[in-house]
Amino acid sequence: MSNSKFTRRGMLKTGAIAGAGVALPTIFTASSVAAYTNEPTGGSVTLGFNVPQTGPYADEGADELRAYQLAVEHLNGEGDGGMMNTFSSKELQGNGILGKKVEFVTGDTQTKSDAARASAKSMIEKDGAVMISGGSSSGVAIAVQGLCQEAGVIFMAGLTHSNDTTGKDKKANGFRHFFNAYMSAAALAPVLKNLYGTDRNAYHLTADYTWGWTQEESIAAATEAMGWNTVNKVRTPLASTDFSSYIAPVLNSGADVLILNHYGGNMVNSLTNAVQFGLKDKMVNGKNFEIVVPLYSRLMAKGAGANVKGILGSTNWHWSLQDDATKAFVKSFGTKYGFPPSQAAHTVYCQTLLYADAAQRAGTFNPCGIGEALEGFEFDGLGNGKTLYRAGDHQCFKDVLVVKGKENPTSEFDLLEVVEVTPAGQVTYPIDHPMFAGGALGTCNAG
């Protein structure tokens, strides 16, 4: 006989209580330390910059990375401070964000949605990034924005122009500084009316993916509203390289305006092909034939060379603007790298500063706190004049530039000239506008 008072039932009870006791502090620790995803606990905070480092947009991605590096330097108090000196909010002191030194990791989106999601996931899970920013395509931006929403980190979009990013695919954790297709159309329409009149026949060639569709819809709606007739809307495969078989039918279509809803390499090739077929010098219906490129990228326009001369389009920002903020940014970037920044570089620099400022004002890196600080935030001094981060859809509303390919460029960077700065009021739309309908912002996710 044993004198032991231990019984099987007693052992199980004790074990269960002891197990729960051991586990309890861990549960509390987990919830108390990680109040939100990747809460920075040391002396530094890590930001994740997800840009195309390989693939056709690698040069644009490289320019974005340069701007991120510059922004991080400025946030940490190095360099000349750039647009931190002109930014209307004076919360940033050059001592990092909330006193923590800013560090960053980079990922390669390859301009492919799956690769971009994988690199963003890795930066969040392995590197502890508290915010993800970047990209050079709307397909990628929408994919990564969705991932950040699920992961509980803030996504500060880079170059994404589709209406859907802050339309049907908007997310509470996602914010876009860059303008969109609707804004391009709203800014371009009055200029097109003044220069080319109201009696025009437009032919659209459109890249067959989310950005192309929203661009085409926006421009067609804006031009039809001012009396233009849309002759045809032709979708072209994104992988197209030679657009001649799509350009040839334009010649006999009766159209007198060709609208190229193409970006990047597609834009370079379709514009080059259109000029090759003599469209720029053609007369139709007693009028000069005109070509319009609604979204310009200066970096890419270089590939089209002299073909861009006189062609109208829009951009989010251009280095030749003469406001103090632009001058400060161009000086800072130009001195460090030897050439002026692109619009992609500008928007990601702004996004980094805006994130840092929001964290500073909110006093936390919690994405919900930052989101709240960004929502409805009005600011100035970042190169686009007075700007509003609208609370309802997380889209920035600011002036839009209508630009034209320069006739006599003085350097390889001097490709575009600003024709008009369209005020923010003219490009603002109601939050329930049909082109942005569907989807919901939802609630912020802190992880």
Partner: protein, 340 residues
């Protein structure tokens, strides 16, 4: 009617590039039995030969112009090409303007050398390996080559215009009383490709070297037994095939600004062309190149697209499937090639 003629022209012009690349692929396959997935990269390297020549001709000296400022507000540094300084702005400018045609002279030796180096340095080690191994190694090589080009030239397209004299449009319909305008350079490209194709066929048909190569393609073993070093000749053919792809690339640059992945864009299409034409058949490759070019152009017509949406994206593959079902060896394929 105008639209149909225009698309035929367009198809011939697209087909020119397909035919040239497919011709090179078939030459390599027919002689060495290698499925060369790096052939698109050779086309791309050819295009970058034109970019290189353009850059060489534009080598400039810098002068400071205090009357103008750069983007930072400093005095503008003006670059003047040495050629313009030496020969005057007019003559120097004309030489620079003809960079693309001049690049042909540069590209031929460069491409032959690249071809030799590829064949001797890498591909010869894979002759006796299965086709899958050859595909993997040449595909890997293609990626390495395009990344090298990207490292030196960047990812963005680089404009390389045609000479001004050849960059306008011409009314090709004037002869038959119609109004069909077409870019001059694209017509130049078409005739250039005919010239190259004619040259290759004549070389194979009318020279002793060509005769030996053809004999080798038909029965390598017997030719070897006759004491002829067929391997050496096949290496030279690899160089020639590389030069053909390179020339196709050089002349293509004014049509579309070259970028580092342009070879990949053409590679898959060219393989389809080779398969449709018949593996190992040179006339088949040329015929299929022009045929698929024309069909692709017609499929892009709005009238056709409205009948069958998306046909422009699948036409080439659809035709390939139909032809392979009806004629499994392709249009002009020979019995015994790629068959166990």
């Amino acid at each position: 009617m105008d639209a149909i003629l225009l698309q035929i022209l367009n198809g011939l012009d697209k087909g020119s590039a397909y035919a040239l690349i497919a011709l090179g692929l078939t030459l390599i396959f027919g002689t060495l039995g290698v499925v060369n997935f790096a052939h698109g990269a050779l086309f791309m390297i050819g295009a970058f030969c034109a970019v290189t020549v353009q850059r060489i001709l534009n080598i400039s000296f810098e002068t400071v112009d205090p009357t103008q400022t750069d983007f930072l507000g400093n005095a503008l540094i003006v670059k003047t090409p040495y050629l313009e300084a030496w020969f005057g702005p007019e003559t120097g400018g004309s030489i620079i303007d003809w960079a693309v045609p001049l690049a042909i002279l540069f590209a031929i030796p460069v491409m032959v050398f690249v071809g030799f180096a590829m064949e001797r340095g890498l591909i010869k080690h894979f002759y006796k390996r299965p086709h899958a191994d050859q595909i993997l190694v040449t595909f890997g090589l293609a990626i390495v080559l395009q990344e090298m080009i990207k490292f030196f030239y960047g990812a963005n397209p680089i404009q390389t215009p045609a000479p001004e004299m050849l960059s306008g449009i011409v009314n090709v319909g004037a002869i038959i009383g119609m109004d069909i305008v077409y870019p001059v350079w694209r017509i130049v490209y078409f005739f250039f490709s005919l010239l190259v194709i004619g040259g290759i066929f004549s070389f194979l048909q009318f020279t002793t070297f060509g005769m030996v190569v053809r004999a080798g393609m038909a029965d390598r073993e017997t030719v070897g037994l006759l004491g002829i070093n067929i391997d050496k000749r096949f290496t030279i053919m690899f160089g020639i095939a590389a030069a053909v792809a390179g020339l196709a690339g050089v002349m293509y640059t004014p049509i579309n600004s070259p970028n580092y992945h342009m070879g990949m864009d053409f590679l898959v299409l060219s393989f389809v062309v080779v398969v449709v034409g018949g593996m190992g058949s040179l006339p088949g490759a040329v015929l299929a190149g022009f045929l698929l070019g024309i069909l692709e152009s017609f499929a892009s017509m709005n009238e056709i697209k409205s009948l069958i949406p998306g046909i422009d994206q699948i036409i080439i593959y659809l035709v390939a499937i139909i032809i392979l079902l009806v004629r499994p060896r392709g249009l002009m394929g020979r019995k015994g090639v790629m068959e166990e």
